[in-house]
């Protein structure tokens, strides 16, 4: 029977961290290693890649052969969660769209992410376009933390000296696959640079780091790595922090609100246990939110009190505002040069082997900022639906014996076509800067709650010309690259009726900006240390503090900023300021 009495934990922790992803994990790691007693709350179950990964499983070990019916990226993907969670709805204002991905598990979305680890550059922190907003910090202030994240967690790449694509401290990069050599050649002809990928995978042993294996090239980082050969918050931060004896994790704990006292300072949090619905409170001298940009905003807005009538930390009214994802669009085709190709293992690493950093000259373009391009294709492990494209294109190129196929077909000739086309596909996807706008936001839906009785988010998000024009530029570029490498493209280019194939906001899972940092408490939620202007013992360490993300995937910046915030916390504690 459920007790309706709230269980109060008598211990007062030095810090309560909400969320165990990149931001929460790093904050917990730094503070626990400094000797603080830290409690970490995670809404999902405990997850250890060493035991819980589906790495090296075969497609027939899934009854749906890896189809995405249950998990959005297929049965073998590591994410427990998705854009829709049973009993945890969200709503959208009429005429707007947003897709909200949540991973409910230790390590959050870092268990299944693409491990693409790009630094934001000087022009991302201090934009020169006259349109997008500046951060209160410069690249040079963040650089030392990026460097330390590189050394602590590991990243491969090549030193290139590109102004707004800062180099890191790199391990050796994986060499390109055959399709990627063709891509590189085609892109160069199209005037698009292609350089070695940058991913957080240990392609060689990381000096000074114990307990992690090096990559054995199965290409399955997205399933989570049994030997901790890539970055997951679970394997690299939370589990090691637990070994200090200073970090306690409570899993299946869905935080309801941040508790505050009469002075408006945070005193702890209340949560509901998702397994038995028991209500709990825990106390902490500090509260650090790393629940994800939108979940942290939701928590703040749901934490109303006399001292914080509009929600905790929301005297500016900006919690939830400036929500922005990355833009995303993609294209693909196949390479006739790769038909009937020789078979060998080209699994490689599970992050990108190559990519194109933004190269454009914005003075000649009708949108600000830019995008990078990620590439795919090759001889992948078979999975549900992976050959569906072959009967659509098998008539486009004669067989090596000169036979002309009819589109579609069946029988021995079709079976040969599947073999003929296997591994010949190429794909590319742009990931670009979407503008952080006041009018794109999330707020508390006035009439809906989730299954725990927690008021849910309502999203307001619309793409504007800047994003649509960027998507058009992506599609035109993709066509040029595909053409220059000699690829056959069977589908026509998406047009304005689909915003040039621009994905709905939220689909790229790079959302941030909902608790932006700044120097002016009227124009920002947090100061430049990610400390709430309104509440000095409250911090946010996910992508909420991002003023404006670049086209660079968020994770490396979340890690660097969370490390920076955690060290600021230690310093402020020593000065007795918090």
């Amino acid at each position: 029977m459920i007790s309706y009495q709230i269980k109060e934990n008598p211990e007062v922790y030095d810090a309560v961290v909400v969320g165990s992803g990149a931001g929460g994990g790093m904050a917990g790691y730094v503070l626990a290693n400094a000797g603080l007693k830290v409690l970490m709350l995670e809404a999902g179950p405990f997850f250890d890649p060493a035991k819980d990964t589906l790495q090296l499983r075969w497609p027939w070990e899934s009854p749906r052969r890896g189809a995405s019916t249950v998990r959005p990226f297929g049965d073998f993907d590591a994410a427990y969660g998705g854009w829709e969670l049973d009993g945890e709805p969200y709503t959208r204002a009429a005429g707007t769209e947003f897709e909200w991905f949540r991973a409910r598990m230790l390590g959050g979305r870092t268990n299944h992410w693409g491990r693409i680890s790009l630094r934001m550059g000087p022009d991302d922190f201090k934009p020169t376009d006259g349109i997008t907003d500046s951060w209160p910090i410069m690249y040079d202030e963040v650089k030392p933390y990026y460097d330390r994240v590189d050394r602590m967690i590991g990243i491969y790449g090549t030193v290139e000296g590109i102004h707004n694509e800062p180099d890191g401290i790199f391990l050796k990069p994986p060499k390109p696959r055959l399709n990627e050599l063709y891509i590189r050649r085609g892109a160069q002809k199209a005037g698009v640079p292609v350089i070695a990928g940058r991913g957080s995978v240990l392609t060689e042993a990381l000096p000074g780091v114990e307990g992690r294996g090096t990559c054995f090239y199965c290409g399955q980082c997205g399933r989570a790595c049994r030997v901790y050969g890539d970055f997951s918050s679970s394997s690299c931060l939370v589990i090691p922090a637990m070994k200090t004896g200073n970090l306690t994790v409570i899993d299946n704990a869905m935080v309801r609100e941040v508790l505050t006292n009469d002075e408006g300072l945070a005193t702890g949090v209340s949560y509901v246990s998702t397994t038995d619905l028991q209500e709990h409170t825990v106390r902490g001298k500090l509260v650090i939110l790393g629940a994800s940009a939108c979940e942290s905003a939701r928590l703040l807005l749901n934490s109303r009190s006399a001292a914080h009538p509009g929600g905790l930390g929301n005297s500016s009214g900006l919690v939830g505002r400036y929500l922005h994802d990355s833009t995303g669009a993609s294209a693909g085709g196949f390479l006739p040069q790769l038909l009937d190709r020789k078979r060998y293992n080209e699994d490689g690493v599970g992050s990108v082997h190559i990519y194109s950093p933004w190269w454009g000259d914005n003075s000649k373009l009708n949108f600000p900022r830019g995008y990078h391009i990620e590439y795919g294709g090759g001889m992948h492990m078979p999975s549900y639906g992976f050959m569906d494209w072959v009967p659509h294109v098998n008539h486009l190129v004669p067989t090596k014996d000169g036979a002309q196929r009819e589109q579609g077909g069946y029988g021995v000739s079709l079976k040969e076509d599947y073999r003929r086309f296997y591994g010949a596909s190429v794909g590319m996807a742009g990931r670009g800067t979407a503008l952080a706008r006041y009018d794109n936001y999330c707020e508390i839906d006035p009439s809906r709650v989730d299954k725990y009785g927690i008021p849910v988010l309502r999203f307001h998000y619309k793409w504007a010309d800047e994003e649509v024009e960027q998507a058009r530029h992506m599609q035109e570029t993709f066509r040029e690259i595909l053409h220059e490498m000699g690829a056959v493209v069977a589908s026509s280019m998406p047009g304005p009726e689909t915003k040039y194939g621009l994905e709905a906001p939220g689909k790229i899972i790079h959302e941030g900006g909902t608790t932006r940092m700044g120097d002016d408490p009227k124009k920002s939620v947090l100061n430049k240390w990610s400390q709430a202007h309104d509440c000095r013992n409250l911090f946010v360490v996910d992508a909420g503090p991002f003023v404006q993300q670049g086209d660079k995937n968020l994770t490396w910046t979340i890690l660097a900023l969370s490390m920076r915030t955690a060290e600021y916390i230690l310093e402020q504690r020593n000065k007795l300021n918090i």
């Binding site: 899934s62 890896g66 090096t214 040069q337 078979r343 699994d347 029988g411």
Partner: protein
């Protein structure tokens, strides 16, 4: 940890390199094509496992329908000199699972099979599965080539597209199919770029192109 230690952590270090690769390859053994649903793999959540078990316990297609699915699957992917047929690889059971997993397939599959039977009944006075091979192929020829199919066969074309995709998915994700397509990864190894002979055959001067 170095790579050797990674392999140790995987429980594979006792074997030498070559042995290691063999030891991790697909084991071709009859009857292993369908995952044993009773075994919950580590990392699969309880509710996911329960859902799989529930779906596996339900029956959607009739025996008559499953027979027709088997005939069609083997027309789409017959045995040849390289590998067995779709039914050898357990494709009908896979399709039975998939229509329960993705209920949106149920009506197109059931209705498509019925459409096929009605066509055969009119032409040959028999259900599709009971027709002779030449009759079956005569009809399949009218729905297997989208670009040249007659407009009145549109529903049949749509059904055959779905059936073909499900068959290819089921076949090439089976142990037999993975071997057939020549996928040789999913095992610990070292990636050192495109093999030299392949680089040369494609006119690239070195591993970076």
């Amino acid at each position: 940890m170095n790579r050797r230690d990674s392999l140790k952590a995987l429980g594979l270090a006792a074997a030498g390199g070559a042995l290691l690769l063999d030891g991790c390859g697909p084991q071709t053994k009859a009857g292993k094509e369908t995952a044993k649903l009773a075994d919950k793999l580590p990392g699969v959540q309880d509710w996911e496992h329960a859902r799989n078990g529930k779906l596996a316990g339900e029956k959607f297609f009739t025996d008559h329908e499953l027979t027709a699915i088997g005939v069609l699957a083997d027309i789409i992917i017959p045995a040849d000199g390289v590998s067995g047929s779709a039914t050898d690889a357990g494709v009908p059971a896979f399709i039975e699972f998939m229509v329960k997993d993705i209920p949106a397939y149920q009506t197109p599959m059931r209705g498509g099979l019925k459409w096929l039977d009605v066509q055969c009944q009119r032409r040959y006075g028999k259900a599709f599965a009971d027709c002779g091979e030449s009759q079956q192929l005569e009809l399949v020829n009218e729905i297997a080539y989208p670009a040249k199919a007659k407009p009145e066969m549109g529903q049949g074309v749509a059904f055959f597209n779905l059936m073909r995709n499900l068959t290819a998915s089921g076949f090439f994700t089976s142990e037999m199919g993975v071997k057939d397509i020549g996928y040789v990864g999913n095992r610990p190894g070292v990636w050192d770029g495109v093999p030299q002979d392949v680089l040369e055959a494609h006119g690239f001067k070195d591993a970076w192109g």
